[in-house]
């Protein structure tokens, strides 16, 4: 009965505003691309475009595949086994998410590039003169994977924690083996979280610029940037961006069709007791080795190279003090973005899950488009609308935060949504039957129950906002500097040494809320 009730007006209002925000960049792209003539078509239908399209798709598929292969065992090991130092591994393996992709790119070139650290190390004892070329697919694949796989791992960890162990026990008691239970009972329950993560990894790979440009792998996003950078051609860039939008829509459509109609919630509000941990026995060592390898490559390598640059190029305290100010700016604006985005995400997710309609479905899907577009496209779209139609907020924090929300909304939507799917609507129905209005139910029952999802979503938005660059450069109030922009300005002058301090600070500062999120969630 409750399902047919009308959603509270606040939800509608917030969701509609969100939809407008998400559609602005699309409107901008259509506007720009419609100014193009035949030139656009001839550019789009060159074989080279198909080439880039193919490369982009290969990268997307490869990154999704390897991210799943890394994340599934990691999530299971850290949540359901007696792996030593489980808590530590579960934090460390997610932390690479805080590393900006342009930093990961620099680090991989420095470590694995020709004449890089690895080659130098091997040259002495083994006389290795040449390493296999890191540029192109291998390097881009590695760099994007390192910063993107936590998008799958994070929701997967949360989802495994939220599983009701009794379902598995029932399966076991009915004679299913451990593996069978995992495949037929656990895996299907993890599907929403996995799908949400796969979606984010796929879309993130589509839009990544830092890593692919530094490692010289030509994807669609790089091609779009080149239009701006080399020809100042906004029309062709818009045309290429629309192709990217179609690719994103295809991914979204595919993901939508993998969603079943199954229910994922249990009737009780909380787990009555924690699940039995699987004893690893002699598998403990390979398991530890696997965790250590991931942490070594994805976290220890980048952080130690940055620290090396930091120590080598350390210069005076004045710059340090200034950088601390930038850190405050970063944290402040990221916090605002997290809050605003979380609210928008709640309205979208609640509408989609509890009040399904064509509108709510569509809305949930289109929020993802912003995440698939290169930051520069979203930034310029908001420059156009802001400077011409919203001069009051143009180049203020309000518009900047709005831009972050458009960019990062799906991260929060995905995590709130999968959390909400695990909450039984019966609880809300009970509250309704006791005379609460839908809004009261939302505030008193639903939100407290999905709080882990909200926190995780807001946390993700916070972390990605910390490292966001193009929108920050173009839309921030003039003179407003963040850690990300100071890394950019140091590297644009070719100085890794000066980039190292803000980069290390960015990673440290982001690690705190990240660790908190995981610990609280666990």
């Amino acid at each position: 009965m409750m399902r047919h009730a009308r959603p509270p007006a606040v939800l509608w209002l917030s969701a509609t505003l969100t939809a407008i925000g998400v559609l602005l960049p699309l409107a901008y792209l259509v506007l720009r691309a419609s100014g193009a003539g035949m030139e656009l078509w001839s550019l789009l239908f060159r074989t080279r475009t198909l080439d880039i399209l193919g490369r982009t798709l290969i990268l997307v598929i490869a990154v999704i595949g390897i991210s799943l292969a890394i994340s599934l065992p990691l999530a299971w090991l850290t949540q359901r086994t007696d792996l030593p130092l489980r808590r530590m591994w579960s934090i460390l393996t997610v932390l690479p998410l805080v590393i900006p992709s342009y930093v990961a790119g620099f680090v991989i070139v420095a470590a694995l590039g020709p004449r890089g650290i690895l080659q130098q190390a091997l040259a002495g004892p083994f006389g290795v003169e040449r390493l296999p070329d890191i540029y192109g697919f291998p390097g881009a694949f590695l760099a994007v994977t390192l910063v993107a796989y936590p998008y799958i791992l994070l929701p997967l960890q949360a989802s495994i924690r939220g599983l009701d162990p009794r379902i598995e026990e029932v399966a076991r008691s009915l004679g299913h083996g451990r593996w069978d239970t995992f495949r037929r009972v656990v895996l299907p329950q993890l599907r929403p979280a996995m799908a949400a993560g796969v979606l984010l990894v796929g879309l993130y790979t589509l839009r990544d610029f830092g890593a692919v440009s530094l490692l010289r792998y030509e994807t669609f996003t790089w091609a779009i940037y080149l239009q701006y950078q080399t020809s100042f051609d906004r029309i062709l860039a818009a045309g290429l961006s629309l192709v990217l939008v179609f690719m994103a829509l295809a991914i979204l459509f595919l993901e939508f069709h993998t969603r079943g109609k199954s229910h994922y919630h249990r009737t009780a509000a909380s787990v009555s007791r924690s699940p039995a941990y699987v004893k690893l026995g002699r598998w403990q060592w390979p398991a530890l080795g696997f965790c250590a390898l991931v942490v070594l490559v994805a976290l220890v390598m980048p952080v130690s190279i940055l620290s090396y640059w930091l120590v080598r190029g350390f210069s005076g305290g004045g710059a340090l003090w200034q950088t601390t100010g930038y850190a405050l700016n970063s944290a402040y604006v990221s916090g605002l973005a997290a809050v605003v985005t979380a609210i928008a995400a709640i309205s979208v997710a609640v509408l989609d899950v509890r009040y399904p309609s064509l509108f709510s479905r569509l809305l949930e899907r289109i929020t993802y488009i912003g995440f698939a577009l290169p930051g520069i496209v979203i930034a310029l779209a908001l420059v156009f609308f802001g400077a011409n139609y919203a001069t009051l907020v143009y180049q203020t924090l309000a518009l900047l935060v709005f831009a972050y929300a458009v960019l990062f909304l799906p991260q929060a939507v995905g995590s709130v949504r999968s959390s909400l799917l695990q909450v039984s609507p019966r609880l809300e129905e009970a509250a309704r039957s006791l005379g609460r209005t839908p809004l009261q139910v939302l505030a008193a029952v639903t939100l407290p129950l999905v709080r882990p999802g909200i926190l995780a979503g807001a946390g993700l938005v916070f972390l990605t906002t910390m490292k966001e660059l193009p929108a920050t450069l173009l839309l921030s109030p003039i003179g407003f500097k963040t850690l990300a922009t100071s890394i950019w300005s140091a590297t644009s002058e070719g100085s890794f040494a000066r980039a190292a301090f803000p980069a290390v600070l960015l990673i440290l500062l982001s690690s705190v809320p990240m660790a908190f999120l995981i610990v609280r969630g666990g």
């Binding site: 100042f232 906004r234 802001g386 139609y389 709005f402 450069l473 173009l474 300005s489 002058e493």
Partner: protein
């Protein structure tokens, strides 16, 4: 029924979102642009030149004129795109760009500079229409590894790099704006056909592609490649870090030609600027002996005004056989890109 604390927080936050979102609702396009709340003497500069390079001299300008300067730092092309999107509502007064291409892209939005400013520089350092002016010069060079190549082995003209003996030894950064400006110069000096031959010839030599000039020069130093095609000053920046023993030197092609062309970073004033007087003072200051000396000494660039000494490590301008080419010819990026795309050099 009272809302829980969580609920009240939610309502407050929802209200906040509404306020923010409403701020972005399109107003009537005819509404007058809100004048930025600035005091009479605040200048807004969009700088495509890096903060570390230009901030000290901008601070000096503020100090000596009392004019407060706000600077937005970003890439030249991103800022050019921003100015184009902002159109007549651009808050910028001055666009300080890294290369002629960026200035050319927004030329229609720039105002003509007074002759008193244009006359400060050599005639070659501003376009004929005078909508922007060069502030500092940079020479295109062939950077070579001194342990692997002797200067005398380098070709008289950059066309010589198409010789098969350079196969696998060359690096370039074809997406770099200065590289593209050099190709524009090639088209003017050599014509389309010879330029195409050069591009095809270099590609036949399997050049290593770099994202930017610093990467190129470092790669020459590391012996990854023997020669590269950057601007002259990256080398000196690196030598500051690594010392003069860094095994790379610049070579200005001895027969001149497009490989020895002098490019400029420049500035223009926006037509829509409401602080044109202060903006002119700014541009004028950047061409003053103090600022020119700063660029020569700190960023290793060539001064564009007379009577300012170049850095001791640099080849004096008079010793470079740079080709005669007008800055107006340097802004035709469109044709260059068609050529670069047609030959598959850039996507």
């Amino acid at each position: 029924m009272k809302l829980s604390t969580m609920g009240r927080v939610m309502v407050f936050l929802a209200a906040l979102l509404v306020v923010i979102a409403l701020g972005c609702t399109p107003a009537a396009p005819t509404a007058p642009p809100a004048t930025p709340t600035v005091k009479t003497q605040t200048l807004t500069v969009y700088s495509g030149r890096a903060e570390g390079l230009v901030k000290p001299i901008i601070d000096q300008f503020s100090k000596s004129t009392g004019i407060n300067v706000q600077v937005r730092y970003a890439g030249t092309s991103e800022l050019a795109a921003t100015i184009l999107e902002e159109g007549k509502n651009s808050p910028a007064d001055v666009f300080f760009a890294q290369d002629p291409g960026g200035l050319g892209a927004v030329e229609s939005l720039l105002t003509r500079l007074p002759d008193s400013i244009l006359d400060l520089v050599e005639p070659g350092f501003h376009p004929n229409e005078g909508r922007w002016v060069g502030i500092s010069g940079r020479a295109r060079v062939i950077a070579y590894n001194t342990q692997k190549v002797k200067e005398s082995d380098l070709p008289d003209d950059i066309f010589g790099l198409t010789d098969p003996k350079w196969k696998g030894r060359i690096g370039w950064a074809p997406t770099n704006a200065s590289f593209q400006a050099m190709v524009t110069a090639m088209r003017k000096l050599w014509g389309e056909e010879k330029t195409r031959q050069w591009l095809v010839g270099i590609q036949a030599n399997n050049p290593k592609v770099y994202a930017n000039n610093t990467a190129q020069v470092n790669a020459v130093g590391a012996g990854e490649i023997d020669v590269a095609m950057p601007n002259h000053y990256y080398l000196y920046g690196i030598m500051q870090d690594k010392g003069e023993s860094f095994p790379v030197r610049n070579y200005h092609p001895r027969a001149g030609g497009p490989g020895a062309v002098i490019l400029v970073a420049g500035a223009g004033i926006l037509e829509t600027s409401k602080n044109k007087e202060a903006a002119e003072k700014f541009v004028e200051f950047m061409l003053s002996p103090v600022a020119q000396q700063y660029f020569a000494g700190q960023t290793f660039e060539y001064p564009v005004t007379k009577g300012v000494k170049t850095h001791r490590l640099l080849t004096p301008l008079s010793d470079i056989k740079s080709p005669e080419i007008s800055m107006s010819d340097m802004t035709d990026l469109k044709g260059t890109l068609d050529l670069l795309r047609g030959t598959g050099v850039v996507p």
